[in-house]
Amino acid sequence: MSYEDVRTGTSQVVLAKAVRLLLVGSLLVGGFYLAERIARRLVGLPERNVVLREYSWRVFAIVPTMDDGYWHEMRIGMREAAHRAHVGLEFIGPRYPNPDHIVDRFEQAIAAKADGIICYAEDLPAVASAIGRADRAGIPVVTIGLDLPESGRRSYVGPDPFQMGYEVGRALAMEPGIAEVAVVLDAAAFRPGSSQDRYLSGLRRAVGSARGRVRLRRVVLAEAVAAEAEAEWEALFAGGRIDAICCASPESTLRVAGFLAKRGLKGRVALFGMGLLPETLWFMRQEIVTATAASYPYAMGSDAVFLLADILAGRSHPTKIISGIQVFRREDVDGVLQRFWSRGD
């Protein structure tokens, strides 16, 4: 027993030693568990007591997975909505909006017995047929961007084609020096009552209200994705003076813009396109595409997921949700890009 022990008394000494021993033990044990928690966090193992949100439905999103701002924005809108709506969302492609691949993804979703499908559709019979098969297999389909009301889809989220044509027509009418306008439609997608037909109707309505200053001279039906269409466009310019061209799909917008650039027609012909594909935005920067009409993809993606969740939950739901349409010009490009990439993926 030390001098201090003698001085302070045996019972207090024993108590102090016990407290110190307890403290040392607690520190060691605490350090052990603290190190374990730090290691667990650093290595990324899930905490034992953390409860994550579970999904209620397994939904396949058949939308292009290519890495551009438009689809990126749409995927983020869908993903965030899926998280809030307890939807387990899987993006199964295809990478590019190829009709065959879209159909293949529908087959995959049916084989996987998905609870629902959100689909960026092409206005093609094969795609409409795949949508119908899915619906018959008990898988509700919500189309996005392009409506196929006869396909068996349960609902649609996107712009109204008539409204879009009308907005483009108004933009045409406001553009100075434009009298003769050619409209490029996709031969495979155009038929009476189709989306492109309705787009053309809207365009005519807007141009008609321009009191004869602007005339839709030529309407060309061409395969938007086929190189052979260029021959038809050659014929278009050979047939007389054309001041502006309107394209009824994002794909035809890109093809025509490429054609104009190749022919050195920049500044001579105004091009009014559709969609916000990155190439479209690039052509706008190059002043080849004058303007393009589109809806904001984030809202479309988000609305589509919530709409499908309502359908799966058996709640009442609209047969279509019409997105707002905006005609973007060159000066809007930076803002659009900034908005697209401002959200993380």
């Binding site: 403290l23 060691l28 650093l42 990324g44």
Partner: protein, 490 residues
């Protein structure tokens, strides 16, 4: 009792223990962290391996399932059909096991896809087999293509799952490896920091331990040389602090004690010096008195005159006158000698004898009788001169002068460790209160009629060192006894 901290210790052993434990804790924490990190990494690696292997097994089983169906369709016997069914059941079980993973697992959707696709594939295979068995028209290339397509989807999904897993784990591992690198550096830093801390604590503690001890040793050295003002600084309540505290108290007590002793010694010296000064002063006073007397009477002239008187008396045959003058001369000579020099008792008794003879000549021998009863061994005892004569004078003057026939006796004897000399008379005596007053007056250097006695008392005090060397007692029947107490000096 001082309050003791339950956690921290003021003692050095406690501090060293805590310092050791602090360093140990750092090392222990770094070790724990490394241990857990590698444990978790191993667990994670095992999980990755197991999951990948499960995917691979499943992919192989899908191929086997396709082959089994094809074989069953081609061969068409029961055995191949049962083989397909058994395989289908096993694959379904594997898919179910996969799907049992919690839905919050990152691969939960993939597992569910695989499970449902496997179910579809098995259902389609069974449908084909049943159709073939029944000879139904639904059996055909389209059905088999749908079955095969499902298999392709399944493999594609498995492939995608594996790719996702590897991509995710690759990203995770990149992140983890970055973190591990950082942690490795942090752990190294922790260990180095612990070492530096331990070293710093050790150096600080040793410095704190040795510096006060060195100060203590230096202070002790100075105290041993007599500098009791030395103090050491008490820095803490540890062992050294307590030793320093005790040292300070000890030095303070020692200093106080030595100061007291010095003060007492100085006071005693001063007292002795003052006594000595008083004595010297008294002697000088006596000498001054004698010098004054000698200055008044030229001793040679006086003694020559007395001698002449003695001669004249002899010539005129006046024997009594001659004797008177002779005794007178001896008395004066005795009185004029150095008063500071002691005389033998015999010499003093002779002087008393001369003085008594003068009294007899003056007042007649019948006035009183005188005798001495002194032990012969005491005749050499030294005593101040003129000690007994004033007492004899007082005895006659105050005791016997009013009557005649009295007697004066001087006795001398040894009593225990002293010599007693008594001057006794049988005169009218002295009341005890008067005797006490007389002694008290004598103690105050004599007033009134006791100046001779006072002189005797004062000189005997100095001579003997005894505060009460003289007693005045009543005689056995009457009269007075003045008793002197002298020390025996070899």
């Amino acid at each position: 009792m001082e309050q003791r901290s339950l956690v921290l210790s003021e003692s050095f052993s406690g501090r060293i223990t805590w310092a050791f434990f602090g360093a140990l804790s750092i090392f222990a924490f770094a070790s724990f962290l490394s241990y857990h990190l590698y444990q978790h990494l191993i667990i994670r690696s095992n999980q990755l391996l197991q999951t990948s292997m499960a995917w691979v097994r499943l992919s192989e089983d899908v191929e086997k399932l396709e082959t089994a169906l094809e074989k069953s369709l081609v061969i068409g016997d029961e055995r191949s059909r049962d083989s397909f069914l058994a395989l289908a059941e096993r694959v379904r079980g594997e898919a179910l096991a996969l799907a049992r993973e919690p839905s919050l697992h990152p691969d939960a959707l993939a597992y569910e896809d695989v499970r449902t696709m496997l179910e579809t594939m098995v259902e389609r295979g069974l449908t084909i087999l049943e159709a073939k068995g029944n000879g139904s028209a639904t059996f055909g290339p389209e059905s088999f293509r749908a079955f095969s397509t499902t298999g392709e989807y399944l493999r594609a999904r498995i492939h995608l799952g594996v790719m996702d897993l590897l991509r995710r784990e690759h990203l995770n591992y990149r992140l983890i490896s970055t973190r591990l690198e950082l942690i490795g550096k942090a752990a190294l830093g922790l260990i180095l920091g612990g070492l530096v801390l331990a070293g710093a604590v050790l150096i600080t503690l040793s410095h704190r331990l040795t510096r006060p001890l060195a100060e203590l040793a230096e202070a002790a050295r100075k105290v041993s040389q007599g500098d009791f003002s030395q103090r050491v600084r008490v820095r803490a309540g540890d062992e050294v602090g307590r030793v320093a505290e005790a040292f300070n108290r000890m030095a303070q007590a020692l200093g106080r004690m030595v100061a007291d002793l010095q003060e007492k010694g100085a006071l005693e010296v001063r007292l002795r010096e003052r006594e000595l000064e008083n004595l010297i002063m008294q002697n000088r006073l006596q000498e001054a008195r004698l010098e004054a007397l000698q200055a008044q009477i030229d001793p040679h002239f006086f003694f020559n005159a007395l001698n002449t008187g003695v001669h004249l008396a002899n010539l005129e045959e006046a024997e009594r006158t001659a004797a008177f003058l002779e005794k007178m001369g001896r008395i004066f000579r005795y009185r004029l000698r150095n008063p500071g020099r002691a005389v033998a008792l015999e010499e003093e008794l002779n002087h008393v004898q001369d003085y008594v003879a003068l009294l007899h000549m003056r007042f007649g021998e019948e006035a009183f009788s005188y005798r001495t009863e002194v032990e012969a061994s005491l005749l050499d005892v030294l005593l101040p001169p003129l000690t007994l004569q004033p007492l004899v004078e007082n005895a006659y003057r105050h005791g016997l002068s009013d009557s005649s026939g009295g007697q004066i006796v001087i006795r001398g004897y040894r009593q225990k460790d002293e010599i007693v000399i008594e001057v006794a008379d049988d005169g009218r005596g002295i009341p005890p209160e008067t005797a006490a007053r007389v002694l008290a007056s004598a103690a105050e250097n004599g007033v009134g009629g006791v100046r001779g006695l006072a002189n005797v008392v004062a000189r005997l005090r100095l001579w003997t060192g005894n505060e009460h060397p003289v007693e005045i007692l009543p005689g056995p029947e009457r009269g007075t006894i003045v008793r002197l107490h002298l020390p025996i000096r070899e």
